[in-house]
Amino acid sequence: MIQLMKGLRNNMANLADNIELDCRGLNDPMPIIKVKQAMDNLKSGEILKLMATDPGSSKDMESWTRQTGNTIVAFKESQSEYVFYIQKT
């Protein structure tokens, strides 16, 4: 288990993002719109790093990626701040 966690953390550290999107302090529909706009500018396979503080965002981004066909490659939560690495398919 610990090894797995370590692996994930390493994975997280090695992840290079192509675009960073800061949605801290923004509430409900805004992060989704911003992510959509940012993802439209990305090429397939590129990774977006999203930072958000909206408590619904972890569930929201799950649904969003399912609907749009993109994937969350890594997720981190610390002190009511959420970080997502989303890869465009």
Binding site: N27, D28, P29, I32, I33, K36, Q67
Partner: protein, 193 residues
């Protein structure tokens, strides 16, 4: 009207090319009637809180990669108003215009209105945390949300086509048939009353 099963039972007596042709026709028909990735919102209410919810739903739909159409009818027309126009209206029309809010800043919440103080309270509470109603409306227009304006309520309350804040390319005046065309093709339709 015969069902698809009945049609297919009848088909058995024909030869193969006829059957393939008939099936292709049926598939094309089904595809034409299939639902698309669209959301249809029917905004009946002119309340501040319901307008906020509508704009959030519209923006969310656009964010999820769906098309969205908002059909504004009756009090909902006040949400997309720019200013009051009195010219060329009858006395009752002028009265209606005077009684209704001039633009979305005059919308009251459906509860806790407290005269004009409720809307100020809600706007104060949303400030800095949420996008304002006008900001969300502007974003929705930029994101390509289509607006339909109910022609019966337009002629009844004597609205003027110049009154809308929505640019003409994303707004159209239409009746219930055009609304149904959109709503039937959409995956979900909401009536906000």
């Amino acid at each position: 009207m015969e069902t698809v099963q009945e049609k297919q039972k009848d088909l058995v007596q024909f030869d193969l090319p006829t059957r393939v042709n008939e099936l292709e026709k049926q598939v094309a028909e089904l595809k034409e009637n299939a639902q698309e990735d669209k959301v249809s919102l029917i905004l009946f209410s002119g309340d501040f809180d319901k307008a906020i919810a509508t704009m959030m739903m519209a923006l969310g739909a656009v964010g999820m990669g769906m098309e969205c159409t908002i059909y504004c009818t009756f009090w909902g027309v006040s949400v997309i108003k720019r200013k009051r126009f009195y010219k060329g209206k009858s006395l009752l029309g002028k009265m209606m215009t005077w009684m209704l809010p001039a633009n979305s800043h005059g919308l009251n919440p459906s509860q806790m209105a407290f005269g004009p103080f409720g809307r100020k309270l809600f706007r104060y509470m949303m400030k800095g945390k949420f996008e304002s109603l006008e900001g969300m409306l502007q974003q929705a227009i930029e994101a390509g949300v289509k607006f339909q304006i109910c022609s019966p309520s337009m002629s009844m309350m004597e609205f003027n086509p110049d009154e809308w804040i929505v640019p003409p390319e994303s707004a159209e005046i239409c009746g219930v048939a055009a609304m149904y065309e959109v709503a039937l093709k959409a995956k979900t339709a909401y009536f906000i009353s």
